[in-house]
């Protein structure tokens, strides 16, 4: 199982070592957080070979962030369900956010990073237009359900379609019902990633939950095939798209 990460930098003169450093960073994240690697720090922690206070600073930071979101979501986001520890629902966004900061430090101003649908965008693709972001239609792989025009924002989508039904409600141990996909837009990809997982688990009330968090908005596609979005996304919505199917919204 793999996640594809795409980095597209539109600035001139980005030093090549900056890109090398980003590669090295994702290597490090994989070595530390992959639950598919028995020698990773997260696997050693899950087996009880390592105590949390002995973990690396990155691991402790991620665990603290996961705990924060668990409490804020009333348990809808919980990395310790089933006895294991799997922070993937947050660590992907967290690692991309860190990579984005590395690129900005190196001088990049116009770029995006997309790790399996978890996206940071900065600046513009061309001077006269904004990035156009498609939200994949959850049932028709060759269509988009909505298009947003965005800059300087983070976007994360959770759903059951991309890797099978990989999200379960930690409180019921079964896949959530009510939604086909949940996209969260906001300033931090770390939180947008975790919130999209939590809100997806919450089902139809998930969008309203996200809207109650300062700075974050949501676009949900319901099992009844309606696209629902919170008011903060209104100005980003591109309506002249062939894929546009929105017909409902929450207020």
């Amino acid at each position: 199982m793999g996640t594809v990460i795409t980095i597209d930098v539109r600035d001139e003169d980005l030093p090549e070592p900056a890109m090398d450093a980003v590669f090295a960073w994702f290597h490090d994240v994989d070595a530390t957080f992959s639950t598919f690697r028995t020698d990773s720090e997260i696997s050693r922690l899950a087996r009880g070979e390592l105590r949390e206070h002995r973990c690396s600073p990155d691991m402790r930071e991620v665990l603290a962030l996961c705990e924060e979101v668990r409490r804020r979501s009333d348990g809808s986001f919980d990395i310790r369900r089933g006895g294991g520890i799997d922070p993937l629902g947050l660590v992907k966004g967290w690692s991309v956010e860190r990579a984005s900061a590395m690129l900005e430090t190196a001088g990049a101003r116009n770029f995006f990073i997309n790790a399996g649908g978890d996206i940071v965008v900065r600046g513009r693709p061309e001077p006269d237009r904004m990035w156009r972001l498609g939200i994949r239609h959850p049932e028709e792989a060759d269509r988009v359900a909505a298009v947003l025009a965005v800059r300087d924002v983070a976007i994360a989508t959770s759903g059951t379609y991309e890797r099978g039904e990989h999200i379960v409600d930690p409180r019921t141990a079964s896949p959530p019902s009510g939604l086909l996909s949940m996209t969260v837009v906001g300033p931090s990809l770390t939180y947008a990633d975790a919130y999209s997982t939590a809100a997806f688990v919450m089902g139809e009330r998930g969008a309203a939950w996200v809207a109650g968090i300062d700075g974050y908005d949501a676009l949900a596609i319901t099992s009844r095939r309606r696209t629902v979005w919170t008011p903060g996304l209104e100005e980003m919505m591109v309506r002249d798209q062939p894929g546009f199917r929105g017909d409902d919204r929450t207020r």
């Binding site: 793999g2 594809v4 980095i7 597209d8 980005l14 996206i119 972001l133 939200i135 988009v144 298009v147």
Partner: protein
């Protein structure tokens, strides 16, 4: 002309690590999937001898949804082969199948296999690229949230194939 670094990694949390290209694009190059909408106004390069429609009919089992309209996309039905484009790991050449005016399949005729790393990258990347094309054709978009993958050489070969469609 801005330098663009398009880099792709398939990572195990994340996955394994994979990089496809890091280069300066030719002047005509745009972001991978954003190239597709240009198909409705084929460029003069459609006469390029390197772009050779095979004339093969679209495969019968891949008829797209009835909503497809040839006039809406400007694509001719058939099978079209793109030029091969090099990237850091080797050459990529693709063939597109158009049926009912929609792209119904993309085949990688040539992709890097000469080194173990290249072969691994191809095994991971090509299926993603295939999915990406099918997803992206309906709108002019730079990025897809859900899953995405961009490779310049793949996109360029695809574009040259679509110039004939």
């Amino acid at each position: 002309m801005p330098i663009r670094a398009a880099v792709t990694i398939a990572a195990t949390v994340l996955g394994l690590v994979l990089l496809v290209s890091f280069r300066t694009p030719p002047p005509s190059s745009v972001a991978g999937v954003a190239l597709l909408p240009a198909r409705s106004t084929p460029s003069p390069s459609s006469t390029s001898p390197a772009v050779t429609p095979s004339g093969a009919p679209p495969s019968g089992g891949r008829t797209p949804a009835a909503t497809a309209s040839p006039s809406a996309t400007g694509l001719k039905d058939g099978s079209f082969t793109g030029k091969d484009f090099p990237n850091f790991y080797g050459d990529v050449q693709v063939q597109v199948i158009v049926s009912g005016g929609r792209i119904t399949d993309v085949k990688a005729l040539q992709y890097p296999t000469d080194r173990p790393q290249s072969a691994y990258i191809s095994s991971v990347a090509i299926p993603y690229l295939h999915d990406e094309v099918l997803k992206a054709q309906s709108a002019q978009i730079d990025i897809i949230s859900g899953a995405t993958f961009t490779s310049d050489s793949y996109a360029q070969s695809l574009q040259s194939a679509l110039a004939r469609a």
